[in-house]
């Protein structure tokens, strides 16, 4: 597997993790993790539960000491700096609001420790409560607030300190869907407004993609891919990423050669040409991937555009979900491919048993390395 890299911006306030490792006994929670979070960016750390996201965040906050590696913030090595001495604040997964303090006292806590004057604390608390739309809640206790309001208090309590980096550990996890969407927009707005670097941990791929400038996909303590949301979605580096963000049809293939700007592959006795710019490998075993929404269904193979790759198939399942219809189409070699067809036409959805032609534009396919290390791709429902 290639180590993901990104162009180094070289800003003064970048957060850099170099080969950070954390072991709990014999168990490696974070494994040789390296990444750079550019100053002022909204960075999402995306991964399944238990992949080491919280541990990574805790090492940046100083609540966990790395077994190896360094954490550098704005050019200063903070690996061994105590948490209270780091210009970093955290919005905890559990909020961790102080139950014996009022909302105003909670929000002003950090400033109080820094011995900011009472008057200034009061002013900034008022400002901050206005920012998170909790004006007038000053004298309440955390227990008297709803989950969404507590979450905003936790955010205000961290933001008020204007840290160099704000760490958010699945802060929206406990909220219901509607409030979560609302808070996503809100968080994004606040980040743009204050310009602080946000490192946002989530296991929700949609959340990561809609909010972040840069997404790092984590798996088993390592980073699988790092990049802009569109880049990660459109051109994943590994089979894990291809299936963790949305779903992909991955055909077991092997590279047979090159032809001009194309890489030639063979899969199940059929030959395909993939533009070289869409290939992560140039020889050996590979996966030929294509996203379900990039596949088109043609009832009449004569209507398939000449430039498209096409395979025949038989519809085995059809589920109508309103905005689109999701088909499973069995290819001649027995594998079922997933297809999302937009319901933009006037005719009804196709029925199981129909013989169709699946086709897609070659530049919509991508070629990934296939080795035994990579977890077998799974087709999961969206």
């Amino acid at each position: 597997m290639t180590v993901p890299t990104q162009p180094t911006g070289g800003h003064a306030g970048d957060l850099e993790l170099s080969a950070v490792t954390k072991r709990f006994g014999a168990f490696t929670a974070v494994d040789q993790l390296s990444l750079t979070v550019p100053e002022g960016s909204f960075f999402a750390l995306l991964g399944a539960s238990g992949c080491g996201k919280t541990t990574t965040l805790r090492m940046v906050a100083g609540l966990e000491e790395p077994t190896a590696g360094t954490v550098v913030l704005g050019g200063r090595d903070i690996t061994r700096v105590r948490p209270y001495a780091r210009p970093v604040n955290t919005v905890f997964q559990s909020y961790a609001l102080f139950p014996h303090m009022t909302i105003a006292e909670n929000v002003g806590f950090g400033l109080k420790q820094k011995r900011v004057g009472r008057k200034e604390i009061a002013d900034r608390v008022r400002e901050m409560l206005a920012l998170v739309e909790l004006t007038g809640f000053d004298h309440r206790r955390p227990a008297q607030l709803s989950g969404g309001q507590q979450q905003r208090v936790a955010l205000a309590r961290a933001l008020i300190n204007r840290p160099q980096v704000l760490l958010l550990d699945e802060p929206l996890g406990a909220l219901d869907l509607k409030l979560r969407r609302q808070m996503q927009i809100e968080l994004k707005r606040i980040q743009t407004e204050v310009g602080i670097t946000f490192v946002h941990v989530t296991h929700d791929q949609e959340e990561a993609m809609t909010m972040a400038d840069t997404v790092a996909v984590m798996n088993a303590g390592r980073i699988e891919q790092l990049g802009a949301p569109t880049e990660i979605y459109e051109f994943p580096t590994t089979a894990f990423v291809a299936n963790f963000l949305g779903q992909s049809n991955l055909l077991t293939a092997s590279v047979t050669g090159a032809n001009g700007g194309d890489v030639l592959v063979e899969a199940y006795g059929k030959r395909f040409a993939v533009p070289a710019g869409r290939c992560r490998v140039s020889d050996g075993s590979a996966y030929l991937g294509v996203r379900p929404e990039k596949l088109h269904v043609a009832v009449d193979s004569a209507t398939v555009p000449g430039s498209h790759i096409h395979v025949p198939g038989e519809i085995t399942d059809s589920s109508y979900v309103g905005v689109s219809t999701q088909y499973l189409v069995r290819a001649p070699w027995g594998e079922e491919l997933s297809v999302f067809a937009p319901n933009s036409g006037t005719e009804g959805p196709l029925q199981p048993g129909a013989h169709v032609s699946l086709h897609w534009h070659p530049s919509h396919s991508f070629l990934l390395a296939r080795d035994n290390e990579v977890a077998e791709p799974v087709l999961e429902a969206a």
């Binding site: 970093v88 961790a96 139950p99 806590f109 420790q113």
Partner: protein
């Protein structure tokens, strides 16, 4: 009430009384009281009745005796006598109990903290260690301290040697030994409530404070201590109240000048058989403690922290 409802409805519809409760609902209404009965019976039998009896005794004619019998003459003068004759022992009891409570808090807080926060898998074993003294009698343990603090034992001998103290240095039968005995005997009553409240403390709150620039000491002052205040309040009450009424420690470890009010009550009741005065003393002690506890609990503002 009905007007309020009608107005808030705002449509001029008449207020409808709630439907008559059905028979089943009626039966449920007295059920809670029925369930409380055994508790009330217990309280009445073992708390209220003895109190009434003791209070009556405190108002008997003080000139009565076992032989001549007692008469209820509403002799409120007994209370005056109690305060007049024994105010010194009263104040001493409160002072000793106060010092012992503070000592218990100073010793007990770090102990409870260590068990609750740092105990890990040794937690239960350490708790057993705190409770273990209860396996033997209070009296026997206090008698053991009589030996430990005696002039012939290594404690006094060692102190004398190390600090080159003279022959007039004693620990036993001093104020120190009485207060030390009280502290020793009531320490578990301080540690257990403290442990219970520190055990509940969410370590994530400490991390949050740490993350928000609070040093370990400031985290303790602003998060740990306030959140363990309910434990501090109940621990101090559970230490102070029995310590103020105790007589065993002063009896076994003290001298005539360290007599506490418990000793007076004990000797009035059991040796001199002056029941009216003994009963009056008991009530003064009870009232004194009650007033102090009420003031303390109000000041500590437990309703805010619990």
């Amino acid at each position: 009430m009905s007007t309020v409802l009608a107005t808030s409805a705002g449509s001029g519809t008449a207020y409808e009384p709630p439907p008559e409760p059905v028979a089943g609902g009626r039966r449920r209404r007295w059920l809670p009281y029925a369930l409380l009965l055994p508790g009330f019976a217990w309280l009445g039998l073992f708390f209220a009745a003895p109190m009434v009896s003791l209070f009556t005794t405190s108002l008997y004619d003080p000139s009565g005796s076992e032989e001549t019998g007692y008469q209820l003459t509403w002799a409120f003068g007994n209370y005056w006598d109690a305060l007049d004759l024994y105010h010194e022992q009263f104040l001493r009891s409160l002072l000793y109990a106060f010092i012992a409570t503070v000592a218990c808090l100073i010793l007990g807080y770090p102990l409870a903290y260590a068990i609750a926060v740092k105990g890990g898998r040794w937690k239960n074993l350490m708790l057993v260690g705190v409770i273990a003294p209860f396996f033997t009698s209070f009296l026997v343990r206090t008698l053991a301290w009589k030996t430990i603090l005696s002039d012939h034992w290594i404690v006094v001998g060692g102190l004398k040697r190390v600090f080159a103290l003279g022959d007039d240095f004693h620990l036993i039968n001093t104020e120190f030994s009485v207060i030390a005995g009280l502290t020793y005997n009531f320490l578990p009553f301080m540690v257990l409530p403290l442990y219970a409240s520190l055990e509940k403390l969410d370590p994530r709150l400490l991390e949050a404070a740490n993350d928000l620039y609070a040093t370990p000491w400031r985290t303790f002052r602003q998060v740990t201590l306030p959140l363990s205040l309910p434990g501090v309040v109940s621990g101090t009450l559970m230490t102070f109240i029995p310590a103020a009424g105790d007589y065993i420690n002063a009896e076994l470890l003290g001298n005539p000048k360290t007599t506490m009010i418990g000793n007076v009550v004990q000797s009035r009741f059991l040796t001199i058989h002056d029941y009216p005065l003994a009963a009056a003393l008991s009530f003064v002690l009870m009232a004194g403690i009650l007033i102090m506890v009420l003031i303390y609990v109000r000041r500590a503002g437990t309703d805010e922290v619990v």
